[in-house]
């Protein structure tokens, strides 16, 4: 009915069209050359179960905490000096002299605990929702690796202020590793960089803390998110809806897999509900 009467576009319509075109032009330019816009749109507007819970934001919260650590850490590295003679005084300088240094250091220091706590809460949520079950076991494993890497960040970062607490806590931590059977003594000596804690220990902890381990964490987070997007989000265990599936999307025939969490993937190679062809084929 509406299509039969076609009035000429008004000036306001034309202006709106032009603004739209002007906004879309750079986005289309980028999309045509990279597909990034479509990718981001796919990521942001992918379908999730209607009854997802606030608890399911803990993963994003952990990611945010990690990003805060990465950014504040990179800025702290501009002032920190990883040598036995300068480390403590450079921390004092950051805290007392550099403009807002106390804030950035405080964010990094307290954010470290926040990151670990959020990862544990996220892990608890995944466990209690049963979201680690088929086909998401691999993502649980990746998540555990991220947690372990996060702990290693805590251990290596603790030494860097190079005060008495830092020094002796690291002595105990390294020797604790050293008591592991068979390879423990070798691991401890690798961590120390020699048979005694010294300048080499500080610099290698610094390199581990700000380059190697964060790099590994970033890689693991990318893998973690890829699997989240590929496999879709689980419903809470109390959900009565089919997870991630509108009734129409079951194609009239599909009875979903029974089970606590009703994974949305249809098989080992299946995509999520909005993956290529997922739910519509």
């Amino acid at each position: 009915v509406a299509t039969t009467t076609r009035r000429p576009p008004s000036r306001a319509d034309l202006r709106r069209q032009r603004i739209e075109a002007a906004v879309n032009y750079p986005l289309d330019w980028l999309e045509e050359r990279s597909g990034l816009i479509g990718g981001v749109r796919y990521f942001l507007f992918r379908k999730v179960p209607g009854d997802t819970n606030w608890m399911q934001t803990l993963g994003s919260a952990s990611l945010t905490a990690f990003l805060v650590q990465a950014i504040t850490g990179a800025i702290l590295a501009m002032y920190y000096k990883p040598t036995p003679g300068d480390a403590y005084s450079s921390i004092q300088n950051i805290t007392d002299q550099v403009f807002m240094g106390w804030l950035v250091r405080g964010m990094h220091r307290w954010g470290a605990s926040v990151f670990i706590i959020l990862m544990f809460l996220h892990m608890g949520r995944v466990f209690l929702f049963g979201a680690y079950k088929y086909p998401r076991e691999l993502n649980w494993i990746v998540g555990v690796l991220i947690l372990v890497m996060g702990m290693m960040e805590g251990f290596t970062g603790y030494l860097l202020p190079w005060d008495q607490t830092a020094y002796w806590a690291t002595v105990v931590g390294i020797n604790l590793n050293g008591t592991a059977p068979f390879l423990g003594p070798w691991l401890a000596q690798f961590l120390r960089g020699s048979q005694e804690i010294g300048a080499d220990t500080l610099t290698r902890f610094y390199a581990l803390h700000m380059l190697l381990i964060p790099g590994a964490i970033i890689g693991l987070i990318v893998l973690h998110l890829y699997l989240v997007i590929r496999l879709g989000v689980t419903s809470p265990p109390w959900s009565k809806d089919a997870a991630g599936m509108e009734p129409a999307e079951t194609n009239g025939t599909g009875t979903l897999r029974p089970g606590l969490t009703r994974p949305v993937a249809r098989g080992p190679l299946g995509n999520g509900p909005v993956g290529p062809g997922g739910g519509r084929d």
Binding site: R18, A21, A22, N24, Y25, L27, D28, E31, E32, G38, R41, P84, G85, W168, V171, V172, I174, N175, L176, G178, T179, P181, F182, G184, P185, W186, A188, Q189, F190, R192, G193, S194, Q195, E196, I197, G198, A199, D200
Partner: protein, 334 residues
């Protein structure tokens, strides 16, 4: 961004989306170059001229680039091509109908070309990766284990240490490393002991590294000036050495409560063996500390002590009993 992504995609592929050819960027670049040069040689005139050129050409370029958006498509002379290619006007076969780009391997062929390429790509990649990884990994791991220096620490003349008196000695093991190599030992001059038919000086030198997890053990008892005894200070080639007198009833660790008697035997708490000891020798009447060694336990005391020695191992490692089997191989140690 509420338009349909799929429709968008089709649009993009249906029409040519190349920007129309334009010469304005060249003028714009010249203008920028003149501007930058002008900033150095004559900011007032040449830079202004350059800025003006850049501005004019930039505006022209922007007009060109956005002409499509502003609804006035640029009229471009269509490219003419009079030569007609062979097969012009015919519709090509669909991609699925043609033959394969690469011939299939003959049945029974064991090493087709594709296999060779696949193998050589992976093999070369692995080789390059290995060539890079091996030295880097070696650099990362091996220095911690190779060339571990032995230290000899000169603590000064033995006459300065009163016989029968305990001292808390602090000294620098490696002056090049500075304060971070400062160590503490508990030293008692035992006088002399018979060895090999003659009397030699005897010292009890106990490391303060707890045999639990390496915290610094303290003397349980008064130390320092309260005793009314002089603190001995020496200058040696290892830097300043301090001997602070103490009267310990034993040694205790502040971290997890490990307790030891004055011979370093464990009396309570989590440590798994006695405190380590320093080897020593007397050269020209001076006390020279050698490397540490581990001790399971000590029978007797002072000059008559029988020390059950073991190679130096880390804190928390058993040197005797069945648990020693957990540590069959220890890294090289001085």
């Amino acid at each position: 961004l509420n338009h349909e992504p799929m429709a968008d995609q089709e649009d993009l592929h249906d029409e040519q989306h190349l920007p129309p050819p334009t010469l304005w960027p060249i003028g714009f670049a010249i203008g920028v170059a003149v501007l930058l040069v002008g900033l150095i040689i004559n900011p007032l005139w040449i830079a202004t001229i350059g800025g003006a050129i850049a501005l004019v050409f930039g505006v022209l370029w922007a007009r060109d680039a956005t002409s499509e958006l502003r609804g006035r498509p640029l009229v471009i002379e269509p490219e003419r091509r009079d030569l007609v290619e062979a097969g012009a006007g015919e519709v090509g076969p669909p991609a699925t109908a043609g033959g394969d780009a690469m011939p299939h391997p003959e049945p029974g062929e064991r090493f087709p070309r594709s296999k060779f390429l696949e193998g050589s790509t992976l093999g070369l990649g692995a080789l390059i990766g290995g060539v890079i990884t091996v030295p880097v990994a070696g650099f990362a791991v091996l220095p911690a284990f190779l060339d571990q220096k032995r230290h000899r620490v000169d603590l000064g003349p033995i006459d300065a240490l009163k016989e029968g008196q305990w001292y808390v000695a602090t000294f620098t093991v490696d002056p090049a490393q500075g304060e971070v190599s400062r160590r503490t030992a508990f030293i008692r001059n035992n006088g002399t002991a018979a060895a090999g038919g003659k009397q030699v000086p005897s010292f009890t030198i106990i490391s303060n590294r707890c045999a639990h997890l390496g915290c610094p053990v303290q003397a349980n008892g008064p130390s320092g000036q309260i005793l009314g005894l002089p603190t001995v200070k020496e200058k040696t080639k290892n830097g300043p050495v301090t001997f602070s007198p103490t009267v310990p009833a034993g040694f205790g660790c502040p971290c997890h409560g490990g307790q030891y008697d004055t011979e370093g035997n464990r009396t309570a708490g989590p440590p798994v063996r006695a405190l380590d000891r320093y080897g020593f020798e007397i050269v020209d009447g001076r006390l020279i500390l050698l490397s540490t060694y581990s001790v399971s336990h000590v029978d007797g005391s002072g000059a008559q002590a029988k020390i059950h020695k073991y190679k130096e191992v880390g804190p928390g490692e058993h040197v005797d009993g069945p648990e020693q089997l957990f540590y069959p191989l220890n890294p090289p140690h001085h």
